[in-house]
């Protein structure tokens, strides 16, 4: 089991980090969480380690997002500012330094519903339909429908931003 997990770690670590990064938008934090996922896998010895690893990664990312919202709300309260709505979008300071196209994709991804985004990211991480269904709570037959909608919405949102960007430049 230890060797199997070690092999999974070697082959999946980068994918898990990428999966987490698209949820927490922080590369260092994504790596910390990915390592935490494998530490927990060592303790639990799951039967299906790959699916288990992504399920735990999704849960940790969700907890992290909640904690971030709490921190943000707390800071907002300390500053006596009105509470802003929680959002998974990266902060403005971070977006300045990023590639413009990358920001557009992030923003396009942010337009999806939480379920569509989750299914899309799990598919991009290499999860099978049954694994996606198990983790997202969907029926296996509904995964295809959800994925079709998510892909279309992502591309449409990105194209809209491209058009707006072109219109602004011209």
């Amino acid at each position: 089991m230890g060797d199997e997990l070690e092999e999974l770690y070697r082959t999946t670590y980068a994918t898990v980090v990428r999966f987490l990064y698209r949820k927490v938008w922080d590369a260092d934090r994504a790596q910390d969480l990915a390592q935490e996922v494998f530490v927990r896998a060592m303790a639990h010895r799951p039967e299906k380690p790959r699916a288990w690893v992504f399920a735990v990664a999704a849960n940790l990312a969700r907890d992290e997002a909640r904690a971030a919202v709490r921190r943000k709300r707390h800071l907002t309260l300390l500053k006596d500012d009105p509470v802003s709505l929680p959002t998974a979008e990266p902060s403005a300071e971070d977006t300045v330094e990023r590639d413009e196209r990358m920001v557009k994709v992030e923003q396009a991804l942010a337009t999806l519903t939480q379920r569509d985004r989750e299914v899309l990211l799990l598919w991009d991480a290499g999860m099978s339909y049954p694994e996606i269904a198990h983790q997202s709570g969907l029926a296996v037959g509904a995964v295809g429908t959800t994925l079709a909608r998510a892909r279309r919405r992502l591309v449409d949102a990105y194209d809209r931003q491209e058009k707006q960007s072109h219109a602004a430049h011209s």
């Binding site: 670590y13 980068a14 990428r18 698209r22 390592q35 060592m42 598919w123 339909y129 994925l147 079709a148």
Partner: protein, 346 residues
């Protein structure tokens, strides 16, 4: 001709369909230009999505040595183990404290008695001949906690004693005994006068072989004078020889009288009459002060009959602020209830 739904083509391209389904779709695509175009469009959408998502990734990351994971796992295990050990210590301390307390309680059991422990007595109504303006008292010897009440024609205005009063009436050696069957009913007669009430309390199943000493300063009256006093001023059980009459002097209304009578069996009955508060207080102190002999040999003394254990039953009569308490062996006391005479009460 049935065209292939879009989501099915997504699943086909994602290789999420069975081999049979794939064969069916491929044979359909070979003959349907519309579905073939749709398949190509979905494939392009899929590739584009993949390309877009590839842009939003962290900088290329290489997994750190797996040893780091092992070390973090060991640290987590150690932390969990320490928490468990702390929890086990706390639990063992709690269990130890509980067992010590329980062991102490078992080693020093508090005397407990209930009416169920008393000898059986005849059922049915008992009508003691208490001379209270001609109104008879009716007591139904029911469950130990059930109050003995007067006739239902009277209007009850209080159904239970307060906790303080019950404590005061308890004759056991500890406060724990106050919980034993001291439920009492007070009633008011139709004309507004308070009437006597009856209270039977089970305290100790042991017999009452000798008279316990009364607490406080008492003057023993000569038997002749005592008999006269007993006949005129205090209640007693008629037909049972009076062996001693003691008086605790006070103001005319504060005087407390105790009459000891000896049964044919050699056991004693004591009847105490006086202000309710003083009698209650006296009963409480009696319960705490007896037995009066050396307690180091309690068991031996009890076995030989030389010790004066607490009375095992108490019969309480109350009228206004006056109270009569008859103490003695429960079995005898129950049979003598009908013979209690309260001559001094009007």
């Amino acid at each position: 001709m049935r065209h292939i739904p879009e989501e099915e083509l997504h699943a086909y391209l994602d290789q999420a369909l069975s081999r049979t389904q794939c064969v069916e779709i491929e044979s359909h695509l070979a003959g349907c230009a519309r579905c073939h175009d749709l398949r190509n469009a979905i494939a392009a959408l899929r590739d584009r999505t993949t390309a877009l998502l590839a842009r939003i990734g962290p900088p290329t990351t290489f997994p750190p040595p797996f040893e780091i994971i092992r070390r973090r796992h060991a640290v987590a295990l150690d932390r969990r183990r320490r928490v468990l050990v702390r929890g086990a210590w706390a639990a063992s301390l709690l269990i130890g404290a509980f067992m010590g307390w329980e062991g102490n309680r078992l080693a020093h059991p508090a005397p407990q008695a209930t009416m169920a422990a008393l000898p059986s007595r005849p059922t049915g109504q008992i009508t003691p001949a208490v001379e209270t303006s001609g109104i008879p008292l009716t007591a139904a010897p029911a469950a130990p906690s059930a109050p003995t009440q007067l006739a239902s024609s009277h209007t009850p205005y209080r159904t239970r004693r307060s906790t303080r009063e019950r404590s005061a009436l308890a004759t056991g050696p500890t406060d724990r005994d106050t919980s034993v069957g001291l439920t009492t009913s007070y009633v008011r007669a139709g004309d507004g006068r308070e009437q006597a009430s009856l209270d039977v309390s089970a305290l100790n199943p042991a017999g009452w072989q000798t008279k316990p000493e009364l607490d406080g300063l008492w003057r023993t009256l000569p038997l002749d004078e005592g008999n006269e006093t007993a006949k005129t001023r205090v209640p007693l059980v008629s037909g049972v020889p009076v062996v001693q009459v003691q008086v605790q002097r006070g103001n005319a209304e504060d005087e407390v009288t105790a009459v000891d009578q000896q049964l044919a069996s050699g056991e004693y009955i004591r009847t105490i009459e006086g202000p309710a508060l003083q009698v209650s207080d006296l009963m409480t102190r009696m319960g705490r002060s007896t037995p009066t002999t050396d307690t180091s040999n309690n068991d031996d003394a009890l076995a030989s009959g030389s010790i004066a254990p607490r009375p095992d039953a108490t019969l309480t009569l109350r009228q206004g602020n006056r109270m009569v308490v008859v103490t003695g062996p429960s079995n005898v006391l129950h049979s003598l209830m009908s013979r209690v005479q309260v001559r001094g009460w009007h």
